[in-house]
Structure formats: C-alpha cells, structure tokens
C-alpha cells in the first residue's frame, strides 16, 4: 500500500455508516425528548370564557387560563388617562396603551411577571399599576414594565369580546 492519503471505498463506507447511525440515534432519541413537550390534553384547554358583567370600574379579577393567571381589569378614566399620557419612546419596552387595550376600559393580560414568573400584586408599586414582590418589578396602569429586573411588559393574550358581558381568552 502507498503512504499517500487517498479516499478509499472503505472511507466512504465508514462515513456513510456513521451518518446512518447518527440519524438512527437521533430518530430514537427524539420521541424521548418530545414526550416532555405539552401534550394534547394540555393543548386542548386552549380557551376560557369569562363573565365580566359584575366587575365594577377600578376592580379586577384573576382567572386561570392554561394554568396561567390572567388579569381582567376594568380601568377607571384616571387610570386610562395615566396609561395614555406617557411618552412611549422612553419606556424599557415601548408599547402604546392603545395597542395593549383595544377597548380602553378593559385591560386583559397575563398575570405573570416577565422576569421569573411570579404573579404581580394589583394597585401597588410606584406607577399605581402592579408590583411584583419577588424581585421588585413595577408595572404601570397599562401593565408596562417601568422599573425593576423584568425585561418586558405583561403579555397580552389573544382574546375577544363574545358579547358585552363575556370575554373569551385564547
């Protein structure tokens, strides 16, 4: 045999069998990984309907949707004014209140701090909105992050008004 490196038939067979082996291992491992993802029964709980007829202005309720708390807040005119009277460019996560609350009286958002997932407390904090006790994030009356470690505004889920008394989340 000569010393010079030549691609031989055997090299091809080695590479091909490694590649095939890798595909086989991957195919066997993927079900073991994917089984941990949200299953069909969890995904099926996709929407919740909430009766909001008894909610007074200034009050809020918390409902559970897909295991997560959702805040539904009926805002007072002052709170709406406060939320809209902010120069958006200076916010950590710039979003207009108009884009967050289609119907200004009703603010619907996930009650999950965007920092590490605690449930913020209502009517608290330096911006009269929500305050997260876990690591001190302050949210304003539009649920936008103003101060503290959380990087984003409270998330707005998909929702619609089924009629004037009912909100469908999801």
């Amino acid at each position: 045999m000569s010393d010079e490196k030549k691609v031989q038939r055997r090299d091809f067979i080695f590479t091909a069998s490694y590649a095939l082996g890798a595909v086989g291992v991957g195919a066997a491992v993927w079900p073991l990984i994917d089984q941990m993802n949200p299953d069909r029964s969890v995904k099926a709980l996709a929407s919740t309907e909430v009766d909001i007829s008894s909610l007074e202005p200034g009050k809020s309720i918390t409902v559970l949707w897909r295991g997560k708390p959702v805040f539904i807040k009926r805002r007072t005119p002052e709170e709406i004014a406060e939320a809209r009277d902010v120069s958006v460019e200076n916010l950590p996560h710039p979003e207009k209140d108009e884009d967050r609350a289609k119907n200004p009286e009703w603010l619907v958002m996930l009650g999950i701090c965007t920092h590490l997932g605690c449930v913020p407390l209502g009517d608290k904090g330096e911006y009269n909105g929500w305050f997260c006790p876990c690591h001190g994030s302050h949210y304003d009356t539009s649920g936008r992050i103003r101060k503290g470690p959380a990087p984003k505004n409270l998330e707005i889920p998909k929702y619609e008004f089924v009629n004037s008394n009912t909100i469908k989340i999801g």
Partner: protein, 419 residues
C-alpha cells in the same frame, strides 16, 4: 494503589476472588495508605457518604406513601406526617437530611479550597465533586417541589423561568420543562421521576470520585506529596475508619437536634399552604443552601445577565484548578491566600444572608459588592496571587519536622501548626 497481588486465605475466598476480585478491592480499601496528619476537616467525605445513603433509604420509604399527582401530593405528605407509622420521623429525617447534606458538602468544599486539594494531580476528583454538587442542587430543588406547597410551586416557577432568559429558545425550553404553559401536573410527575433517579447517578459519581481519589491518594494539611506507604502514612483501617465514625457521631448529634427539636426551622412555613397558581407568597426564598446563588442572580439588574452570572459563579469553581496558579497547595504556607480565603468565606456568608433579604436598598448594594468580590477573588486575585505571593518554606515530609530532625529549623518552631 497497593495490594494488587492480594491472596485470600480461604479456598472459597480464592475461588471467588479469581472470578470477581472484590476481596482484593476490600483489602485495598483497608490498607489504603492515608497521611497520618489528616485533621477533622477530612472526615466530611465519610459523613457525605452517610448522608447520601440516608437520603436514599428515607426517600425510597417516602416514595411508598407519597402520591405524585398535583391533586393529592400535598395531602399525601400530610398523610405521611399524621397517619403513616413513623412517617413524621422519616420525612423529617429526609427534609433535614437534605440540609445536613449541604452543610457537609459546603464544609467539604471549603476544606478543599483551604488546603488546595483541587490542584494537580487532583483536578478530576475536584471536577467530579463539582458535578455531584450540581446534581445535588438539582435533586434538592426537585425534592422541594414534591410536597406541592406554596414555596414548592413558586420556587419551581422562578427557577424554571431562569431558562426563559435564553434568547429565542427560552419559551420553548420552559414549556418543554413544564410539559405545559406553567408549572402544573405534568411538571410534578416528571420532577418526582427525576428526583428518584438523580441520587443513584450521584451514587455512581461518588464511586468515581473515590476511585479518582485513590489514584494519587489523599491530600493533607501541609499539602505535600507523600511517599506511600511510608512512615508518613497509616492504613485506612482502623485508624481513619475510627476517626470518621467518631466525627459522624458528633455530626449525628447536630442532625438529631434538628430532626427532634426544630424540624421546621430550616424550612419555610408557607410550604404548609397548598400550592395556588393564582397567588405568589409575599416573600419567596429558596432553601438556605441555594441563597448565595440566588443573591448573585438578583444583584444583576438585567434578566439574562443575572442568570449568566449565577451559572458562571458555579462554573468558575469547575475551572478553579487552572485559575489558581500557585504551586503551593496548603494555605498554611500561603500567608496572603490564607487571609483572602477567610474573606471569601465571609463574602459567601454575606451573599447567603442577602439572598434571604428583600432585593432593595442597602441590601441590594451589599449584595452587588459581594457578588463583584466573589468574581474578583477567583478571576483576578487568584491568578495573580499565585505568581506574586511569597510563600513560607514547605517541610519535606510530615514526620521529620515533628521529631525535630528537620533540615529547616523554621519549621520546627511552627510544628504545632501542621500536626
């Protein structure tokens, strides 16, 4: 390694040993030459083994009565406490046993830091130890979720949300960990499965840890390489065995004090309230043994960087053998390192305290300073100090300076320090 040519005395023993040399192994363990100047800080390896076995035995027993379902878990733990014969005892031993396990592992780790046990040729022992420590933290974290109280639930929420800081994949990863869109039923069952599994992985790693230890042999308080066996060593059995057992006895007194007199002092009363996904307790804190890392996490105002800093503070320990450039192992001969060591101990204790306090005002400032110092110690001071420090003369062996035969009179004066 000694005794590869050990021959059992009985015929049956010889027959068996030729087929599976377990008797050779046990002879090696008995005669394993150990430095004769080991102090009580060296007894924590044995204590840790005891803790692991205790957790496994009590854990398997708890698993016979515990129900890993979000609707029943909380009640089943109360059932263990009230109805199961000695259930209260077994659960209190398991819950406090986790704390005692961490107490022992922290002493064990700080022992290694003081005497330079992580240095060549013991880097692999050290790294396996760090993997064990990481697995211990994961195991304890998942165990704490099992009783499904308020602290269980919100601790699990905050810790799993750490992964949401990862750019792009964060949300996918957290949903994958939870098996849903929040910590919920699927999370509990998988945590139980893993909480059962990991201690056995730890057991396997402990065996590797000890195997790796038996290649170079123990480090010792004066940190010098020894001839083994020699007049500087004693056989493991009975000398070290008895000393380890005596230390274990003292340790058990502390353990029993917690179990019988203040079984809940290390826990948090909120965990006796069933998990409620709608309400976060006003003040959530992890178990005491995770507090220093929690303080580091919170002292960084940016979410992703906070998480990075927290993981970095652990990873830094893994690469410590290459950060500490000093060739001298023991702090006894490193006058400056010795003082910095105690400052580091204080720094970690301060971090732990700050982790338990609210992250605001002065607390936050102190936590930030302590976090900065932690990284400075490992990343800046240690690499430079190892090159600059004027170390004290190291004795040639253990025995001669003690008996006065040292070629180095300075060491004779200080002999009480290293025997």
């Amino acid at each position: 390694m000694s005794n590869h040519n050990y021959v059992p005395s009985s015929k049956l023993g010889k027959w068996f040993n030729d087929r599976l040399p377990l008797l050779t192994l046990s002879a090696h363990l008995k005669e394993y030459p150990t430095p004769k100047n080991l102090n009580y800080w060296w007894t924590f390896g044995g204590i840790l083994t005891f803790c692991l076995i205790t957790q496994i035995i009590t854990g398997v027993v708890l698993g016979m009565h515990y129900v890993a379902h979000a609707d029943f878990a909380f009640d089943s733990v109360e059932h263990i406490m009230r109805d199961v014969n000695y259930g209260w005892l077994i659960r209190y031993v398991h819950a406090n046993g986790a704390s005692m396990f961490f107490l022992a592992v922290y002493i064990h780790i700080f022992r290694a830091l003081y005497y330079g046990s992580y240095k060549s040729p013991r880097e692999v022992i050290w790294i396996i130890g760090m993997i064990i420590y990481l697995l211990m933290m994961m195991t304890a974290f998942m165990g704490y979720v099992l009783p499904w109280g308020q602290m269980s639930f919100w601790g699990a929420t905050v810790i799993t949300n750490l992964f949401s800081a990862i750019p792009f994949f964060g949300e996918g990863i957290t949903n994958w960990l939870w098996g849903g869109y929040a910590v919920d039923k699927p999370t509990l069952t998988r945590f139980f499965s893993l909480h059962y599994l990991l201690p056995f992985l730890i057991l396997g790693l402990v065996i590797l840890h000890i195997w790796a230890l038996h290649v170079p042999g123990n480090n010792n308080p004066i940190g010098i390489e020894l001839k083994k066996p020699s007049k500087d060593t004693v056989p493991f059995h009975p000398y070290i065995v008895i000393k380890d057992l005596f230390a274990l006895l003292l340790f058990l007194i502390v353990f029993a004090f917690f179990v019988f007199y203040s079984p809940n002092i290390l826990g948090h009363s909120d965990n006796y309230i069933e998990a409620n996904p709608m309400v976060t307790p006003a003040h959530i804190v992890p178990e005491w043994y995770l507090l220093p890392f929690y303080a580091i996490l919170r002292s960084v105002p940016d979410k992703l960087l906070g998480v990075v800093a927290m993981f970095a503070s652990i990873f830094i320990l893994v690469v410590l053998p290459w950060l500490d450039t000093s060739k001298i192992r023991s702090a006894i001969f490193r006058p400056i390192y010795k003082q910095l060591y105690w400052i580091l101990v204080l720094d970690v204790i301060i971090l732990g305290y700050m982790g338990a306090m609210p992250a605001e005002g002065t607390y936050l400032l102190i936590a930030r300073a302590a976090t900065a110092y932690y990284f400075i110690h490992f990343l800046i001071i240690l690499p430079i100090l190892g090159k600059k420090e004027k170390t004290l003369p190291v004795p040639p062996n253990i025995t001669d300076p003690v008996l006065g035969g040292s070629s180095n009179p300075q060491m004779v004066k200080k002999k009480e320090k290293y025997i």
